[in-house]
Subunit: 246 residues, 2 copies
DNA sequence: CGACTTGTTGATGTACATCAAGGTACGTGG
DNA sequence: CCACGTACCTTGATGTACATCAACAAGTCG
C-alpha cells in the first residue's frame, strides 16, 4: 500500500464506534454487536493521498470508513483518471475485492482517514451465522452510488448536481455545519469526476457561483439556495432513504 | 404493468431451467436446488415493450431472466431517456426494489421475455437458511454493470466499446453464433445509452462500420476484428470473470 | 526563499447538438 | 392490390459547448 500508515496502537472498541452516533444507521441487536466486535481485527489510519486499494488486486481487506474522505477511480489507458464516486464515513471499501476476488477500481484517500479493518475470511462466517448482517451487506452493495455522470447534460447542470450530491451525502453523516461543508476536493477532482477539462470546469464553476446559489472556496462549500441549485442541476431532489449498517 | 402478459400455464421445472445449461454459472448443491424450487412461485412471459418495473415503485417481485433482453433506464426531467445498462438471461431484475424498497430505475423489455418470478418475502428465508445463496445474491449485486458511459471519450470510442461490451456479454450466455449476434437495439437505444444525439450516433456508427471491424444491420451485429475494435474502443479487453448464480 | 500545487483567464479549433428533410421498410385497412 | 401511417435509418447545413494550448497568479511547504 502506498502512503504512510499511522498506527495508533489503540483500538476504538466497537461500543464506542464513532459511527454509532449516526441516526441514519440502524441499531444493532446485542448479539450482532458481539459478533462484529470479534469480527473487527484492527484499525488503520492513513494519510491523505494513500492508495487504499488498487484496481486488479485481490489481496485487500474489507474496510469500513470511520472518518475521512476517499474516492474510487479508474485510470484510463490514455492516462486520464475517471473518478467514479466518493467514499464517506460508514461506507464500505473493498467489498468487491472480497466478493469478486478482484477490485474493478482503485481507491485513494482524499484526507487522512481512520478505517476499521475486517478480515475477509470472516465474511463467510457472517453469512452463515448472521443473516441480518448479511442482508445489510447486500443492501449496501445494491445501493452503491453510480452514475453521477449520466448522459447528455451541460457542464453547469452536472457541476450543480455534483455539489448538491456531495453536500447531501455529507449531511447524512453529520459532516456539515449548517449550510457549510469542509469539502476536500480540488477542481481537478471535480473535473475528473464529471469527465470534463479542468479549464472548462473552472469557468463553469464560476458561473455556478455567479448564480448565488453556492459559495465555493478551495476547501469549503456553502449552500446558499438549495432549491435553486437543484433547479440548475435539473435533477429532482431525490430523498435518499436511510437504512443501515454498523 | 404495461404490456401484455403471456401466460402459458405451464411452468418450467427448475431441473430443466434453461439457465442450467450455461457453463459460466456454478452448479447447485442438491439442497440448494430443492430450496430454489420451492422459492420460485411462477413464470412470467411478456412482450417486447413491456415495462417490467417502474422507478420509484416497490410493489415489484424479484425476477430472474430466463430468456430475452431488457434495459434499465431513467427518465430525465426534461423528457430524455438515459439507458443505464442491458439485462440478459441469468440476470436479476428487481433486486433493488426487494432490498431498498424502491426501484431507482425502470426496466423495459427489449424483446419478448421469459422470467422466473420469486416472491420477495422469501428472500429473507434465503438469507436465513441458505448462506451460500445469499452470498451469491450479494455477489450479483456487487457485480452489477455500471459505467458504460465513463468520462471524456469520443463518440467513436464509446460506440466501439458498447458494441464489444454487448457482444461479449451475449457470448457468455451463448446468444452469439460464431461472430454474429441478433442484437435487438435500435440506434435510438444506443444513443440513449451513450448520451448522444441520434444523428451523431448514426454518423459515427457508420464510421465504425467503415473501419471493417464490425458489420451492423438493423437487428444484427457481426464482429469482424475483435482486437481492432477493442483498440478503437481504447478500453483494454477486460476478462469478465465468471462466477455464478442459479 | 524557490519549488510546487492549485486556481484563473484568453485565444483558437473541433466534436458534438440541433434543425430540417427525405428515404426505406413494414404493417394495416380499404 | 394500393394508399397510408409509422418506425427506423440517413444525410447535409449551421451553431455552440466544449477541449486544448498557453500563460500567469495565488497560496502552501520544506
Amino acid at each position: 500500500m502506498a502512503g504512510t500508515e499511522l498506527t495508533s496502537g489503540w483500538k476504538v472498541p466497537c461500543e464506542q464506534c464513532p459511527l454509532r452516533a449516526y441516526e441514519a444507521l440502524r441499531d444493532f441487536a446485542p448479539e450482532e454487536l458481539a459478533f462484529v466486535r470479534q469480527f473487527k481485527c484492527s484499525e488503520l489510519n492513513v494519510h491523505a493521498g494513500t492508495t487504499l486499494l488498487l484496481e486488479g488486486n485481490n489481496s485487500a481487506h474489507l474496510y469500513t470508513v470511520l472518518n475521512g474522505w476517499a474516492f474510487r477511480y479508474k485510470m484510463l489507458p490514455d492516462g486520464r483518471r475517471q473518478i467514479l464516486n466518493y467514499v464517506l464515513p460508514a461506507d464500505f471499501v473493498g467489498l468487491q475485492a472480497s466478493m469478486l476476488n478482484e477490485m474493478q477500481h482503485s481507491v485513494e484517500a482524499l484526507t487522512d482517514m481512520m478505517l476499521c479493518v475486517f478480515p475477509r475470511e470472516k465474511l463467510w462466517d457472517l453469512y452463515r451465522n448472521h443473516p441480518t448482517l448479511a442482508f445489510d451487506v447486500t443492501w449496501l452493495a445494491a445501493r452503491e452510488e453510480k452514475i453521477l455522470n449520466v448522459g447528455r447534460r451541460t457542464a453547469i447542470e452536472r457541476i450543480a448536481f455534483l455539489l448538491l450530491h456531495l453536500f447531501m451525502r455529507a449531511e447524512q453523516v453529520r459532516l456539515t455545519k449548517g449550510n457549510t461543508l469542509a469539502l476536500p476536493l480540488t477542481q481537478q477532482h471535480m473535473a475528473d469526476t464529471l469527465g470534463m477539462s479542468l479549464v472548462h470546469l473552472n469557468k463553469t464553476l464560476k458561473r455556478v457561483v455567479g448564480t448565488k446559489t453556492v459559495r465555493w472556496k478551495p476547501k469549503s462549500l456553502e449552500i446558499l439556495d438549495r432549491e435553486a441549485l437543484a433547479r440548475i442541476a435539473t435533477y429532482d431532489l431525490v430523498d435518499r432513504q436511510a437504512r443501515p449498517f454498523i
